[in-house]
């Protein structure tokens, strides 16, 4: 329990520091925050209106952070005059698309990583291992925008199965699973192959070590089938780096979603983020950044808990502190 509390406080500190940097960065990027909050070229009235809403803009940054964070936490994310929409509404509208791109990318990444990582470790240095080692290396080194172009060219343009450039729209899976698949498969695949390559390699490396350990030989000597040894005995002992990486890569996946959204089109937060940066739409920018930070921090906290679920020894050690 004390351990959890410690971790929680640590993550809280990380969250505060990073979000503070977010605020500072938007202020550095804006020569006139008041005008940017009001929506750029607007009349004096609007400016005064907005100034009344945000009376703390001339205060030191630390004070501003206090006001802003209070607003964020209480759910008052402000109104974007650029979008003529409240930031919260925008978020509710855009978040699902990004969520599903990231979610399916994660699923695809794991669907690649688990069998490839396990089997290439099991058949180390054999043909399957060598082939996958080469191809994962290729997918890792390929930027996702190249993958996106390749998929558009090779799949979307040649079949009627998927929408072409920018043609994908958000469809909720519970409304129409097939349409959802059509719209999300390619963008998710764009991010999934790269990340799957990284995770395959991570898992393979840990798995190779695990397969050399005595308890795997004992499992073999018990006459257990290789599949069960791999998936039940060895996998669980080899997943710690993998789940760590999943949490760490979550942030990268969300930023990767920007590219996928640009190319394929289910317009989510990434798409909005790009415009917000161009327009200096500070509130939108800040809100999206905070959410990304929060997701990554929470994911890492969750992984920390997951360690204890996977390994009873970690559970025992934590119970002592």
């Amino acid at each position: 329990m004390r351990y959890l509390l410690q971790r929680f406080v640590q993550f809280l500190i990380v969250f505060v520091v990073v979000t503070f940097i977010v605020l500072a960065a938007t202020r550095i990027g804006s020569s006139d925050p008041l005008r940017d909050l009001a929506g750029g070229q607007v009349n004096q009235e609007r400016l005064e209106e907005v100034a009344a809403d945000y009376p703390y803009l001339d205060k030191p940054l630390v004070i501003q952070y206090g006001y802003w964070m209070t607003d964020i936490v209480t759910g008052d994310w402000g109104y974007s005059y650029y979008q003529s929409q409240s930031v919260m509404d925008m978020f509710k509208q855009r978040a699902p698309a990004t969520f599903f791109i990231v979610f399916w990318a994660l699923v695809i990444g794991l669907l690649i990583a688990l069998p490839v990582g396990i089997y290439s470790a099991y058949r180390r240095d054999r043909i399957f291992d060598k082939a996958t080692s080469l191809s994962t290396f290729a997918t890792i080194s390929m930027p996702s925008l190249v993958v996106a172009v390749l998929l558009l060219y090779a799949v979307a343009a040649r079949t009627d199965l998927f929408p072409t450039v920018g043609g994908s729209n958000y469809v909720a899976p519970w409304d129409n699973p097939y349409e959802h698949f059509k719209n999300f498969f390619l963008p998710a695949l764009t991010l999934g192959v790269g990340i799957g390559g990284v995770w395959s390699r991570l898992l393979r490396a840990d798995m190779v070590l695990t397969l050399q350990s005595d308890f795997v030989t004992l499992a073999k000597a018990k006459g257990i089938s290789p599949m069960r040894i791999l998936w039940v005995h060895a996998l669980r002992a080899s997943v710690l780096s993998l789940i760590t990486s999943v949490a760490l890569q979550l942030g990268a996946l969300i930023s990767g979603s920007i590219i996928a959204e640009q190319f394929f089109g289910p317009r989510g937060l990434g798409d909005r983020l790009v415009f917000a940066i161009q327009q200096n739409d500070l509130l939108t920018l800040q809100a999206i950044a905070v959410v990304i930070v929060a997701v990554v921090v929470v994911a890492n906290l969750a992984v920390d808990l997951l360690y204890a679920v996977v390994d009873p020894r970690i559970r025992a050690a934590r119970a002592l502190t």
């Binding site: 005595d214 030989t217 004992l218 018990k222 006459g223 069960r228």
Partner: protein, 361 residues
């Protein structure tokens, strides 16, 4: 699977295990490592064989080769391993799997690393039961509890739900034995089963193995570097050196009439309780030979105090001593005139050194 089920026989007078000219060579960048290099022995049902040698003598590789546990990659094996009348060498893993656990099982050296740290003890014991015997959940749990009681673990029911790290080293080794015994194997390999344990626990574990052997009429191959360990727990002892058997005899005969200087040297290197404390322990000088380029002649000759010219030129064959079941490979065995002569010389040399030391002191 049942179509190619192995017909291991346990009825006729055939010995349980016949190993002939077994060789296990590892392909390494340095060259071929001859870890096991022509080993022949026979093991009857219910008997216990001790395989003794220094680290690097090939005893563990021998056990693993016989059981078929070595990976195929970069390993050459040849010779013959007949188990219950079936040739095991070269059998596919799928068929070996039917024998592992049910016919032969192994207790490993280090119970800390040999049990799955992430799996409850109960599950590790029930796994082979359900896999091989097709037991249901409640049956297998009841059997596991009984097995834990058999290996003298207190509160067996509670242990089933514990993880290995929650148990002491001795207890873990008992769990490992319980796992090995689960499907009632006819042959148990115990690879240095007590080396990683406290001295106080060692004899308990060995007693336990001996007791289970008697109860189950199970043959045991006890692999150890400690001649003292095997003395009380085996019917027969095979001494291994540099991948070969150099002496083999019934335990009693070996201790009363050992022929091979190496065996004698091994025995001397064990601390004895009746010697005054701080007596310097005899060690065997040098190291076991490089198994990529084993020495010519007798492989022990470079380290043997009694070696003569012939020893480094001609390899001694495994010869029968007074009785047929005692064999050894040595040109000038313990007790031979040449051996005695050299022994005298060494003794005189030693006396002179002591005298010189006394005069100087």
């Amino acid at each position: 699977m049942s179509a190619d089920r192995l017909s291991v026989r346990h009825d006729d007078g055939e010995p349980l295990l016949q190993v002939a000219e077994l060789r296990t060579h590892f392909r390494t960048p340095r060259g071929m490592v001859r870890a096991v290099d022509g080993v022949t022995f026979t093991l009857e049902r219910g008997k216990a064989l001790g395989v003794v040698g220094e680290s690097g003598s090939g005893k563990t590789v021998l056990a693993r080769t016989v059981m078929g546990l070595l990976p195929k990659r970069n390993v050459n094996t040849s010779g013959s391993v007949r188990f219950g009348g079936v040739e095991m060498l070269g059998l596919p893993q799928r068929q070996m799997r039917e024998l592992w656990g049910t016919e032969m099982a192994m207790v490993f050296q280090d119970p800390m690393s040999s049990l799955n740290p992430l799996m409850k003890v109960g599950k590790q014991i029930t796994e082979p039961l359900r896999f091989h015997m097709g037991m249901g959940k409640s049956d297998s749990i009841a059997t596991a509890e009984r097995l834990l009681r058999d290996v003298r673990i207190p509160e067996p029911r509670r242990r089933l739900n514990q993880y290995p790290h929650e148990l002491s080293g001795g207890m873990r080794q008992r769990v490992m034995i319980a796992i090995a015994l689960a499907c009632g194997p006819n042959l148990l390999f115990a690879d240095e089963p007590t080396t990683a344990l406290d001295v106080t626990v060692q004899s308990q574990i060995l007693d336990l193995i001996a007791e289970q052997r008697r109860d189950r009429n199970m043959a045991v191959i006890l692999v150890t570097h400690d001649l003292g360990v095997v003395a009380n727990y085996t019917d027969e002892i095979a001494v291994m050196y540099a991948g070969r058997l150099v002496e083999k005899a019934p335990t009693r005969t070996l201790f009363s009439n050992m022929k091979m200087p190496y065996t004698k040297a091994l025995l001397r290197s064990i601390p004895k309780l009746n010697l005054p404390s701080h007596t310097r322990l005899d060690t065997i000088p040098g190291r076991p030979p490089d198994l990529v380029h084993p020495p010519r002649g007798c492989r022990f000759a470079p380290r043997c105090a009694n070696a003569r010219d012939r020893c480094t030129e001609e390899e001694p064959p495994l010869l029968a001593a007074d009785s047929d079941d005692h064999t050894y490979a040595c040109w000038y065995p313990v007790g031979s005139p040449e051996y005695r002569e050299r022994e005298e010389q060494l003794k005189r040399l030693d006396d002179r050194r002591v005298l010189a030391a006394e005069e100087a002191g």
